[in-house]
Symmetry: D2
Subunit: 376 residues, 4 copies
């Protein structure tokens, strides 16, 4: 399975291709559009978000709503394409890199003086294609009983203090929230933080959690380091713009515990097979799924573009200057969760296909059922 994305923030389309995706999956295009909408949602987004609607166009790999086994290419049109429509030399160059963005490193790497040429691709807009592909992967995984969700744990210094124990209750609580947060009191504090940051023309980050449920044990690998499920998930999550930390299960909390208090004991019950009563491991041990839900948390840094711009330097004159300001949000933690779900879905799909083959859904399901039988 291979995934490539393409697209600039103000280019014509965001484009994604997934190759090696199985034949025979009935595709719910409306679901993909809902995922794209979720990617733009959440309290703290700019006004523009409310106006825009992303719509997927599946232009290959699907016939009458069913995948063909061929590469699936998806397009999402960008609304504002004036920059790419106009001639370069008619446009003002952007010459003051924004701190915390790709601007400066990119300008140096590519020996360019117009950071427009960097920021168009390094923009988080690029994650549209990942969410479209992730939504397809989610539909595949759902056929094998796997469901992926996310919710917000903190925004700035406002953090949830308690969350329901069952994922169903968490999600139901989060659903009513403008911040995808399962703790209504915490949400109020989060909104307050966002309002204050917004007023100060400042920005915020946060922490969110992704869960994947219904995973069978043995997905991933303990045989080569780069096929481990935790390695793939961490690599995929850290590739999301603004993500600076990834934890699985207890994560950093693990480091302060003794083994006897940290590890999940093993049990067996007839009918159910092997299981754990705790899930501190976050569903992954030895690079493989344990059968418990996969739980990962990520830390998002505050949005890099500030409306009250930070000190920077003009690339050409080398004089002190204020960073350029592209439109910006105050906080994008909800979007971050959606993208994280997508990246986990992509990692899981890759590992499922490695185990069960990748030609057609029917064949995969039969192979999967055989495997489930062997577990009991």
């Amino acid at each position: 399975m291979r995934v490539l994305t393409a697209g600039e923030s103000h280019g014509q389309y965001e484009v994604g291709i997934i190759e090696g995706f199985p034949k025979g999956l009935r595709v719910d295009q409306a679901f993909i559009d809902r995922e794209l909408k979720r990617r733009m949602s959440g309290y703290g987004r700019g006004a523009r978000m409310a106006l825009e609607i992303d719509e997927v166009h599946i232009v290959s790999g699907v016939r009458d709503k069913v995948t063909l086994g061929s590469p699936v290419a998806m397009l999402v049109r960008n609304r504002d394409v004036r920059i790419f429509a106009a001639k370069n030399d008619k446009q003002e160059q952007l010459v003051v890199p924004r701190p915390a963005h790709a601007d400066l490193a990119g300008a140096l790497k590519y020996a360019d003086k117009d950071i427009r040429n960097i920021l168009e691709r390094s923009s988080a807009r690029e994650t549209v294609a990942r969410v479209a592909i992730g939504a397809l992967c989610k539909q595949f995984l759902a056929e094998l009983g796997v469901h992926i969700s996310s919710f917000t744990l903190s925004v700035g210094s406002a953090a949830v203090s308690r969350i329901p124990s069952s994922i169903a209750a968490i999600l139901s609580a989060a659903k009513k929230s403008q911040l995808n947060c399962p703790d209504p009191k915490a949400e109020l504090r989060m909104i307050d933080e966002i309002d204050k940051a917004s007023k100060a023309r400042d920005s915020l980050g946060g922490v969110c959690e992704v869960r994947a449920e219904g995973i069978c044990p043995g997905i991933g690998s303990c045989m080569h380091f780069d096929k481990r499920l935790d390695s793939r998930i961490a690599g995929n999550l850290m590739s999301i713009p603004a993500i600076k930390g990834v934890e699985i299960g207890l994560g950093f909390e693990y480091a302060a515990k003794r083994g006897s208090a940290a590890h999940d004991k093993i049990y067996y019950a007839r009918g159910q097979g092997f299981f754990h009563k705790t899930n501190r491991s976050g569903g992954i041990e030895g690079g493989m799924s344990t059968g418990e839900p996969i739980v990962a948390r990520i830390a998002m840094k505050p949005i890099a573009t500030l409306l009250r711009p930070l000190d920077s330097v003009n690339l050409t004159t080398h004089k002190k200057a204020k960073a350029v300001v592209e439109r910006s949000d105050t906080c994008a933690i909800v979007a971050c969760g959606v993208i994280a779900e997508s990246m986990v879905a992509i990692a899981l799909t890759e590992s499922y296909l490695e185990k069960f083959g990748c030609d057609s859904l029917g064949e995969i399901k039969a192979n999967y059922r055989n495997y489930l039988k062997s577990l009991k």
Copy 2:
């Protein structure tokens, strides 16, 4: 550049091949052996560690100490090979999986009742080959002025309270430490924790930090998610056995800050070029190196094998049983740092070679110097 490793804990050799590695690097084999020794060092390791000496055998890709541009294969002999020498059916099967290990998930994945067949490869012994390859990568990076180091931040609940500000002072302080810890008072507390855990036949994890200095800006990519330097580093670090969390720069701390307090402003000085006075980003923005030191932290869970074994289940009888006990350490945080350095070195080498070509060191250095010139 491609890396494959092979080898079981009690097999004949740990094996590593690195392909696409440049010609013309003078290899210091003693340095590789010192790295292998560091991997076995640190307070809290079992008695066996003290006895064993790992020695690298470079069996291809190097002629009279200089790389040839061909794949470099390295062997490290395992001392205890009785298990692989004997016939399977003459050996006792291991049928009680150890919690927090690959044992159970592996046994299910591969439909095996003898977890010996899983644990031989999933053992952390496998990281020997990674450290050997990482040591080679470090020597390549050193030719371009890059140096990678690590130190311990916490063991169990004992954490450093202050560390020197310069990396030179940190490393000099850590060098005298049995735990690679730059804070002598914290080290005493760490040793105390280890002693107590050891007496309780329990185990500990910890946190360590890896730094790479001398990186030029623009290494990595903002153009495709899986070529981002942070994604590669996170994937590589999370692939180390027992690692459950990865942070870059401020990491999770970022989530609680406002943008104005979180981001590194940009400065310029003649002769020096662009720079930052702070390094909260940990040296990576937009998937690329900024030119500041790369700083990553990882959380290690307590060692999975406890000498006072946890509850588990017999794979065959499905009856409750105590987990099998292979020899074990109490804490391996120092080793963890060494392996983390290696995995960062591998990620950086891959990204450097992508930017500067990969035929020979002379050519790469010339290309590199040209690039440095363009930065000023």
Copy 3:
């Protein structure tokens, strides 16, 4: 560098993404369109070809005609999309596989009874995306002095008897030809064969030759088998639908010669450096370019779809039946040459980028010039 294509014969678009392509290349879109037009040209194509015009839409990776270093995505619209517009169950199923096509093997592989679901992707229409990407690669290679061309050596039993010795003269002669053939007398015989086959509702294949000139020595690798330039070129060429043979240099003729008569001696001239007076090797020795033109020949089998269909079997009833007939050409040897040029261009671009880095054209050219200096 990575390439993915997507698209079905009657789907909305043929799609191609090339990732890892350098920044700073001025793109001539009209050149890509001319290449697409060449792909549809040649005596022996069906009437539909004359009517269709393929036009590339570059939807990402290029700003104001210059590449950005980001993935370049290209779309080519398909004219006839009725099949994908309609509902599957409103359409007649195609149940008789055509011999020599992917139909039967695909239907079995994917457990499908409607070969429409196979043939849409396995159609040679898919090569549109390869030609678009190849045209981009050609423009990159041209910046380094590399030029790729092809010409027809035979159609059915009609073969060239003599061709000019210089590539300039060959191409000039071929340019006037309806069959891209540099021997006008042979061309008449080829046209006659095509006319006869067409009248008989039969089909033809042929042989064509691809040449790449201006290659510097040392491109490719002798260090790992799958990085050899000959391996990549052969893999790429054999992946073209209907290709059943690939030769480099003397190819099969080599097998009948003695070494003393087969090998290219080595010479040196001041200013010119090392060279050969003969080029039996086809410009590749030890997996690397020698500096002489790269010469490859491919054999195309007759077009698989016959208007007078062959015997086959109904997939459902298992009864004997005549194969389904999609529209078809009599001979597509000219197209084959164009696609072959593209596949060679892709292989060469990959190998050039490996040697010289891949960030921006300016940097690559500087590295390239340094290398050229080292050769003399």
Copy 4:
């Protein structure tokens, strides 16, 4: 599935790692050694060949003769290691590149004046590791009913005039031959050619054919060009040193035929399923196996090293000189067939694992049987 090889001609070991290889295969090490011996056999090899015995050492991935699912690393010791044992500056530099070898292109690519540094890796000795890995793949494929063999079609101008129609008869005839040739009269002529070339201190190439029988239909892909089975086989075969041409099925003969005479009609028989009465396609259509035997032919150029050396140029003085002479054979066509079998086995294994998953042989066999059922 990934394969890496390492090793120089006079280095300590030839090394191969295959990663992603399934667990549960019983390994016959003697079979691997027999394959290694076949690689050194055949009339026309130098005296040294007769003396040497290659022996595989499986140092990982196998426990008590059964694969573990972990990477399998194999070593084959080189007998003559004096060159790597000695210091470089104590050894005579080789400064006159041999025509038709990697010598010149490699020396230029790597800016080296001592071609010893090139030829050690570019030597055909490197194929030892491929044959070892291929032998393992053959054992895996045999579990699924697939058997691969090769035989010689020509040596220099001496070619078989008739071969038995059944593969069993071919192989039985070839077995008695010193040149793996199924036509005894042709073999006599081949031996005569070799004797004459040997006396003239010259060298010869030839043509051999590889067949893989017992392939189920649907292996490979029609969905992306680089996953096509023909592309993989051609790339793998062309990567063998000295190979300059690859054909599948009729190969170049196809180009001269009309479609009606070239294509294999489709039949069906109860119990047997779909089949063809002819196999002009060489068992591959649309990038997938048809279920008929896979038939590929390759052309080997004469051995590059001549005992009566060709004209060349001194790399340092730029003066005319005779090429250096390493020991050499007159003809290695039998070895070539063995290596070709290995490369086909590797390509097939990769494609089988993609279709049926890759964890353990038991699981793969169950998935395979399910698929076979679906074919009827």
